[in-house]
Amino acid sequence: MSLRHNPFPRDALNRLLSVLGSLRLAAALIVLLAVSAAVGGIVPQAATTPNADLIYRSYGIFWYRLITRLSLDDVFHSPWFFALTGLFALNLVLCTSRRARKTLASLFGEPRMMILSEADSRTIAMSSEKRVRCTLQRVAEIVRRAGYRRIVRLDCAGSPPQLVGLRRRWGALGADIVHLGILVILLGALLGAFRAEGTLRIDETEKGQLLPACGMEEQTENCLAFDLKVDDFGVETHGETGRVKDYWATISVWQEDHLLREARISVNRPVTIQGFGLYVWRYGADLQSALVRLRIIDPARNMVTAEIESRVGETAPVPGKQLLLKPLQYYRSFALDATGNPVDLGSTPGGQPAVLLQVTGTDSTGEETTYRDLALPFLSETNAKAEVSFLLAEASVPAYIDLHYVRNPGYPTFWWGFVVVMVGLAIAFYARPSSIRITMEPGRLLLRAEGRGGSRRAEQLAADLATLLLDSQPTEAEE
């Protein structure tokens, strides 16, 4: 009985690693990632699309099921997309480590002798063996002058000597550096999962107030590390056209009653304080906080009987009537969409402002009734026939600004990844390694140039060298 070593587990592991780091898998993953990303770009993503569910339903039941079951409504946060990206990273690690090992070995090791034949080399006929010996040192000199910094002479028993010139050997590392950079970027993205971010909405009434550090976010890990005060904010416009030029805010940052910093931020000009980037995100009119002044009209007498002021969402009693009035929505420019629903067209020149009202009262039987009415700056025909009508006299809409804050521990890693990728790309494309081999045979020189990607330039260089070698043959006097 003999003890036999079972190589299966090791072989299987090697085979698995070989498959996981293979180019075939890399190509398949690149295609899969591209297709997945394209699907995520075409299918409206639920997180950023209002009424996404309704949109999916409009495609039909088959597509609705497909989209929801395969998480195509949130491709970039789906488990299968993470799995694909993870597999891609693993493939990159294995492939790069294997490649880099080979590249480093070729960088620091001695080149191997290669038998050159007339079929794959340029042949330069020489008159005698003596001449060949004479040119050997000059060949090395010319090869060095052509930019091949490392020149190695290989001697092998039974074979003629071979001269190997190597140029930009480190250029072979370009692809590995790019791979490394992509891995660093992926690491940065992974670290980004630990980011803290949130949005603070400040309207005009909150200027100069110390704001809660957590903004609109409920999770405490998304809170700012300091207190923030928005001293002022506004909008800059182009003088001639009145178009918006910039949104800005002046802020002051406080910590334990000490002023840390004051700054002016605007779109594209954020500020970073204690690792938190503060950005001006949005500026607009806060229609939900609009203050409206309404005139109560008695249509029978065509008289203004009273005036009330109320904020959107707040209920106010109508003087002289058993009615409660609640402005539901203010429209800067009122219009009806195709389905008959009221919409706000924004600050359209010549637009008609309006307020949608909810009126609650009691009818003759004592039962409570609620109806909706629209108050415009003039009396419409419908309003004129009603028992009581409302006229929109004035409205003031407070402006608001959204400040976004982010602290992402992945940023530095991410930026370094970019730098590494660009350095790698520059090396891979513009510093390609090349080599030249020259074998000295009795009566002739065999010359072969090699460059990555079958570069013709390297071949051209070989031809030039061949000419130079012929030109530099020692004259009779030198001999």
Partner: protein, 276 residues
């Protein structure tokens, strides 16, 4: 105010004439006809450059602030890519005719689309999100990359057409080999520009404007998809030794995706990059 439009109109007419002239040159195979076509192309390019400069001065910045300007600049980089390769002596003989005709058609098409009544040529002040020096770096480098991709696409189309005629018996292996080399060379030149301008400078700008470097916005997503297709091109070509029809197809698909990222996403899918 619509500065530069006169020059753009001149160049559009010039490009159409150059395209037709190069087509005639291809049929007649006469040197002087070919030279005249190339000359027309160069004059149109100069007129377009002058228009862009004028517009840039009027705008006080890089003229890529709306679809009209972007289309004009897009056409300019196509022409630049072609002329750069012509000047470097990469394009010769039949290859020069073929690439010139295809690029001429593309530039003329882009200029015609820009000049259509659908796109306003008015100079409109920049919206706050575009008021950044990253605009020039981001857009110009992407377009320079895509200019070379355009030549790669033109070479890819020519390769596929030539390979088809070869199948029918007409032998032109040298042309095929040169076109194949040109596809690789153009993508190798354009890819670093595309990566740096599109992905990296775009990410830096996104971080400045929106507080995140990547947000899976449709434009960003399709730029990544295009980038991945070109990554695939390099892998299969350099590592697996793919050449010829297969890589020509990848060059064509990659470019169509780049076009979709530029125009299709703007018009069909709404996102943060939808500026008209």
């Amino acid at each position: 105010m619509s500065k530069g439009v006169f020059f753009f109109d001149i160049s559009a007419i010039g490009y159409i004439a150059a395209f037709l002239w190069l087509l005639v040159a291809r049929i007649l195979d006469r040197g002087w006809v070919r030279r005249l076509g190339t000359g027309l192309f160069v004059v149109s390019f100069l007129a377009q450059s002058a228009g862009l400069c004028l517009r840039g001065v009027a705008l006080g910045g890089f003229p890529v602030t709306n679809t009209y300007e972007s289309l004009v600049f897009y056409g300019w980089v196509f022409a630049f890519g072609f002329l750069a390769l012509l000047g470097a002596g990469v394009l010769r003989g039949r290859m020069r005719d073929g690439v010139g005709i295809t690029v001429g058609l593309l530039v003329a098409g882009t200029m015609a689309l820009a000049g259509s009544p659908l796109r306003s040529a008015e100079i409109v002040p920049l919206v706050p999100a575009l008021r950044s020096h990253w605009l020039a770096l981001h857009v110009s480098l992407v377009f320079v990359g895509e200019g070379f991709f355009t030549v790669a696409f033109a070479s890819g189309v020519l390769y596929l057409l030539a390979a088809r005629s070869k199948r029918k018996g007409e032998q032109d292996s040298e042309l095929l080999e040169r076109l194949d080399g040109l596809i690789y060379r153009c993508i190798a030149i354009g890819f670093p520009f595309f990566t740096l301008g599109g992905l990296f400078f775009g990410a830096i700008w996104a971080k400045h404007a929106w507080g995140r470097y990547w947000g899976w916005d449709p434009k960003e997503t399709f730029m990544l998809v295009t980038w991945l297709v070109y990554v695939l091109f390099f892998h299969v070509r350099l590592q697996r030794g793919w050449q010829g029809k297969r890589t020509a197809w990848i060059a064509v698909i990659g470019y169509l995706l780049a076009l979709f990222t530029f125009a299709g996403v703007n018009f069909l899918i709404r996102g943060l990059h939808s500026y008209v």
